[in-house]
Symmetry: C2
Subunit: 469 residues, 2 copies
């Protein structure tokens, strides 16, 4: 592509000249006018809230690989068809699913009382009578890692590791390791059970679930999360210096040949339909809530953005593809299946962005453009997003949503619309993730951002990839 190699042809020209010269090339006046119209329409009210309300009411919880996730795909196909999109399809894949049946915990001594807990996704069951044992407490995962070999023999390990709220959700990656990796670390030192303080920022009696990953060659032990008030209770009792013992109970099972799938729909490009701009969200949710913020909001936002473009009668130069990923929560299974199925076309995936951080407003936009033309188009997108409160930023690493990680590894550039996530981890992976927590006007602002971005990139011939690729 001409503009793609531009930066290498004319490296000696200053940035101002480069920017001025190419502005008209990266995006037409008409295209910009359409983007402004889409933004105004979204801000005046989109269908995002109606979509997420429909999904969370008519399907509700939709755990990866479950019959309910299958109903969500039927809901998606029917909803997309009713809206008149093109190339609607389910791209199925097989998976090993996990099912929660029962769970519980209680303090046995010194102060008998029930505890609010939930099994972590993937946890093995206890036997029916549960598992009662003394608890060994650790303030952080690091402390658990430093515990001597064999020191937890016959005990239940507990890790406190309290997460604080952040706007960008950046604390999650760090504290989340207690959930994903802790059980095997504890089991490696002899523990027979594993408890964590929920990876969450609320102080309600909602435990936060989420996947764990057992390490090969280490005994698999049952693993549960306590709600934050219950974790406080455990730590308060331990601080008295008394021996604390707890009984945990988990009934769960695996379904080895379960089905999942990615649901896809498109607005087909008028000139280069084989060039793809990806937007989307994940369709599965955890089983405790109805998955409104994680990730019904993303489904509503991205579907409403595509609907807005379609209903305006606009045909972009390239194809805009909506992907509603399956089985994200249990390890990006839908994202990997998409990458495998579409491997040959990935070099013509222009850019991707996923909405998977709740319903808060977008406050920052970043992109991992590797080209001058990409930078210039990004500057145009940022200019149109500024009036709705979004500032351009720069990121150390590519992002755009977890389901894009396999595509990023395959070289697909991403754009990320950073949402305000200060409250996100109050609800994330809890029974309290329901649609009453969403604000329609905030969703509309997200729709505006997705519509502007997807339209401008799809209606251009700009590449964000370096010529080397």
């Amino acid at each position: 592509m001409i503009i793609n190699s531009y930066r290498f042809v004319l490296p000696a020209l200053g940035l101002c000249l480069t920017a001025a010269a190419s502005m008209a090339e990266s995006v037409s006046r008409e295209s910009l006018a359409h983007a402004e119209m889409l933004r105004a329409q979204a801000m005046a009210g989109s269908n995002a809230m109606a979509i997420v309300t429909s999904l969370t009411t008519e399907v509700g919880p939709r755990l990866a690989g479950s019959e309910a996730e299958g109903r969500a795909r039927i809901w998606a196909v029917n909803t997309l068809a009713a809206k008149g999109f093109t190339n609607i399809r389910n791209e199925p894949f097989a998976m090993n699913a996990w099912e929660r049946h029962e769970e519980g915990a209680e303090i046995l001594a010194p102060y008998p009382q029930p505890l609010a807990v939930t099994a972590l996704g993937g946890s093995v069951p206890t036997n029916k009578a549960g598992l009662g044992a003394e608890v060994a407490l650790f303030e952080t995962l690091e402390d658990l890692k430093r515990a001597p070999e064999g020191s937890l023999s016959g005990r239940i390990a507990y890790v406190g590791h309290a997460m604080q709220r952040t706007q960008d959700g950046s604390s999650y990656g760090y504290f989340n390791e207690a959930r994903t990796a802790g059980a095997s670390i504890a089991a490696g030192k002899g523990a027979v059970g594993y408890l964590i303080r929920s990876v969450g920022t609320d102080s309600h009696r909602f435990p936060h679930t989420g996947s764990l990953r057992y390490k090969e060659g280490i005994p698999r032990i049952p693993a549960l999360a306590l709600s934050n008030p219950d974790a406080d209770q455990i730590e308060r009792i331990a601080a008295e210096g008394k021996t604390l013992s707890v009984r945990i109970t988990v009934d769960s099972s695996e379904v080895p040949a379960a089905q999942s799938g990615n649901v896809v729909a498109e607005v087909v490009g008028r000139e280069a339909p084989e060039e793809i701009v990806i937007i989307g969200a994940h369709l599965d949710s955890w089983d405790l809530g109805t998955g409104a913020i994680d990730d019904g909001a993303g489904v509503g936002i991205t579907m409403a953005a595509l609907e807005l473009i379609k209903n305006a009668g606009l045909a972009p130069r390239r194809t805009i593809r909506l992907v509603l990923w399956g089985a994200e929560e249990v390890g990006l299974l839908g994202a990997n299946a998409y990458r495998d199925r579409h491997e040959a076309q990935l070099e013509r995936h222009v850019i991707g962005s996923e909405s998977d951080f709740g319903g808060g407003r977008v406050w920052k936009v970043t992109a991992d453009s590797q080209t001058e033309a990409g930078d210039q188009l990004f500057a145009e997108i940022a200019r149109l997003l500024a009036p709705i409160g979004i500032a351009p930023g720069s990121d150390d690493q590519p992002g755009g949503g977890p389901d894009l990680y396999p595509l990023i590894a395959a070289g697909v550039p991403t754009l990320r619309l950073h949402q305000d996530g200060r409250d996100y981890f109050d609800l994330h992976h809890t029974a309290d993730d329901t649609v009453d927590k969403l604000d329609a006007a905030s969703l509309d602002q997200n729709v505006a951002a997705f519509a502007v971005f997807a339209w401008l990139v799809a209606d251009s011939d700009v590449s964000f990839r370096s010529a080397a690729e």
Copy 2:
């Protein structure tokens, strides 16, 4: 009593003269100085938070008539003894207790999914398989009452009846009837099960429990409350016009010869020990949470107030009696037992006040004084409470806390420290009623108010009762 008949002897004198003349009589300068000192000490930090933390940690949930409520009485006696109070005792009584074992609900059609529910206190069980039936929806209890005879045959009745938040909690009395009386109203029209929107003001997936009362001669049907988001879900589905069916499951049982008790402690009066000023709170809680706002806060506030008076080395003229009532939640059983046991001494119960509205700040004080001297002493109390943000008010009817109702009926006057309850019904009777929701400084303000009030009345010889009694 002299001052008590004063108003009848000198009715022609103006209020100003009356007030001026009796000011010195109703309360001494020294007594006022002590009250100011108690107020300052409480505001600087009381033991209220430590007490409620201890109760909710070391006992936790303590349902009326349960073994756990028995442990709460042991905790109370030990805690009161450690603080050095006098005449510490448990006044036991027998009761018919109710136990919750299991509960659940799910939508069967049109959109299968689980619902967050809790059985109402006293609900009969379903059979093990649960009870699946079509749901008949009513927006209000009044609508249910107007349903034709037999019209609910074989169906589960649902009542929406959404409560709004109020500062004084006044909406509770009205909306609460859906919980207490609705099951028998529905059963009288043929319903086989009863569901309500929780009597609560939050939008979290915490259903609110609480007692129901079955009417004699009408079939007892299982009764449960939905969390507010689940009630929204039910109503959203019903609004689509589709037939809604739900399965409810309750396992519960009764314990006919259970034990409860009131725990009592005193600071004994130096001149008139047989004259009693009652303060207190109820010791039992619902079983879902740890009973921090209902009513651990009241236990902490009133015990800390009495502790402050005792630790200051002050001996009031009359006795201040702390009563920690048992089995309040299931029908004021402890309050009735107290009235029966102390019937002969009730005429020497000078005044009473209970703290049973959470941990919010006091914003108003009222009393049902029937005497000029009582009015004047009340004015002095109000004057000392004004600097901590409390204004005097007037009430249409006597109050002072639910456990005082039997005493009010027996002629005992009450004083009420009105707390700000805007958030109270977010947590009331839910699993989320835990100690992290309380604010120590707000509790201290309550302690200051109780200490000032109890001290000033106990150190006086003022009666609040009319001479006719």
